[in-house]
């Protein structure tokens, strides 16, 4: 096994074990989106949402991305705590691959997220979601990539700001507009033209559109193409920025 792979497996194992031990993280991470599903989902069933598919096919992709957005964006908190204990430095002074330090963590985040996403989709099916199986699987791939990229960026940001007091507000300042302008809750096509135009400058919007296209089985569409390109660009950007930070971790 190459050092990068074995190092990544080692780091992944360490953090995955820690996650499995913290039952609170598992429980509340899953509970929040379920609340949306139960208390917000039924409000939409009778409304014309100006998009393909029924209201569940529009809501569930949005909820999945929202779960990913808020889960992954705050991943950096863990790094701030570890920084204070000197754990990151201790690892950086060993020969371990810098990229593995990032990938191992990010992989844990993505996997935890997919686990929660599967639970959410199963619950949604129980409530009335009907969507093509392939589209749902494709949706998981999208959100896994999205979570991985976002978690990597969150780690990079955590290194820059260094205290939880700065990190929290900084993340909120980024996630709130991302959520509102990407049409996560309701399709942007419902809004006035200026809002729809503005939202095209928000990269997440393309992911949301692609996810919704997947959930109605429209695979060979522009939405899907742009969504895929956005996801890949996001991953490339995040891994580059994240690894750079782990390599130099300015202090």
């Amino acid at each position: 096994m190459s050092p990068l792979l074995s190092d990544t497996a080692l780091i992944f194992g360490r953090y995955a074990r820690q996650t499995l031990r913290s039952h609170f993280q598992m429980l509340f991470g899953t509970l929040m989106p379920l609340l949306y599903l139960v208390f917000f989902g039924p409000l939409l069933t009778g409304l014309p949402l100006g998009s393909h598919g029924d209201s569940w096919q529009i809501l569930v992709p949005g909820l999945l991305l929202q779960l990913g957005l808020f889960g992954a964006a705050f991943a950096g908190f863990a790094i701030i705590i570890e920084q204070n204990h000197g754990v990151v430095e201790r690892m950086r002074v060993t020969p371990v691959s810098r990229l593995a330090l990032l990938l191992g963590r990010v992989l844990r985040d993505a996997l935890l997220f997919v686990f929660q996403a599967v639970l959410l989709v199963l619950a949604a099916v129980a409530m009335g979601l009907r969507a093509p199986f392939g589209g749902v699987l494709l949706g998981f791939v999208f959100v896994a990539l999205f979570t991985a990229a976002l978690a990597a960026l969150s780690y990079a940001l955590a290194f820059k700001v260094r205290t939880p007091q700065e990190f929290g507000p900084a993340v909120n300042a980024l996630t709130m507009p991302s959520m509102l302008l990407s049409g996560l809750m309701l399709p942007m096509a419902l809004g006035p033209r200026w809002l729809d135009v503005l939202s095209h400058f928000m990269p997440f919007r393309y992911l949301v559109d692609a996810m919704r296209a997947a959930y109605v089985g429209r695979y060979a569409t522009e939405d899907m193409l742009y969504g895929t390109l956005t996801a890949l660009a996001l991953v490339a950007l995040a891994l580059t920025a994240g690894t750079r930070v782990f390599r130099t971790a300015a202090n």
Partner: protein, 260 residues
């Protein structure tokens, strides 16, 4: 051949107020088997120097060879041959001593079984076998410090860096740690570079001292040489020499607890 050799090693940070020269050109030689003490007032550049020598912080100028590898061209080679124990240690409070030692072994590319065996061995050598299955938060200050040092010794490095190893320890733990450092040198020939604020510690433990102030080396020599040169007598307190060299004493809250 010196184990550390630097020429004009420097680091400039950029800040909103403009560039800050934390380290302004350090020429340092450390010989195999030496215990070298790095002294200086707060903000003198001790930790920055240590972080550069341990590959954690890229220097902005100069040249350095550490443990036979070029610091600039081959940081990975340096990492494989040095141990570093930061002031904050570096163990996760939610994990057990055994887990952290085993992970450290794997980070140094030992196999699973090898890493587990090395954890046992280190615990025996540093006298905390009974604590192996405790959470790291359950350890006392002195025990924690021994664990931190064990982590840095995982791969049997010929060169060990310790950043303020005895800060916050009670006198008995400090004395035990001094013994441990001397034993490392006696048993394994380990070269040790340590920073400290405690002048009695520097006096008792180090073969040679390097005093850093405002990012430069302002004095170096054995404790006796520094006392003779700067305080007029080899019998003087190191504190007097230190004051004469830097024009300042150590910060008052950093008075050392008495250790033997």
């Amino acid at each position: 051949m010196p184990l550390i050799s630097t020429a004009g090693l420097s680091r400039t940070f950029t800040s909103k107020q403009g560039p800050v020269e934390a380290v302004r050109g350090i020429d340092l030689r450390v010989h195999p088997g030496e215990i070298l003490g790095l002294l200086g007032p707060n903000g003198a550049g001790k930790t920055t120097t240590l972080r550069m020598l341990t590959t954690l912080l890229p220097p902005t100028g100069g040249a350095a060879t550490v443990a036979g590898h070029d610091l600039f061209a081959d940081p990975a080679g340096v990492r494989a041959r040095i141990g570093y124990v930061a002031q904050s240690g570096g163990v996760d409070p939610s994990l057990t001593v055994r887990e952290e030692l085993a992970t450290q072994g794997r980070l140094y590319r030992l196999g699973r079984a090898e890493a587990a065996a090395r954890a046992e061995e280190l615990a025996a050598e540093l006298d905390f076998t009974a604590l192996l299955d405790r959470k790291t938060t359950a350890l006392s200050g002195g025990q924690r410090r021994r664990l931190d040092i064990a982590m840095g010794l995982t791969h049997r490095p010929p060169l060990l860096f310790l950043d303020e190893p005895t800060t916050g320890l009670d006198p008995a733990s400090r004395a035990a740690l001094w013994d441990l450092i001397r034993r490392l040198r006696a048993d394994h020939g380990t070269t040790v570079v340590l920073t400290t604020h405690y002048l009695d510690e520097a006096d008792a433990l180090a073969d040679r001292l390097v005093v850093v102030d405002e990012g430069r080396i302002v004095a170096e020599g054995t404790p006796a040489e520094l006392k003779l040169r700067h305080a007029g007598s080899a019998e003087a307190a190191l504190q007097e020499a230190f004051l004469a060299i830097t024009g300042r004493g150590p910060a008052p809250q950093e008075e050392a607890p008495v250790a033997v």
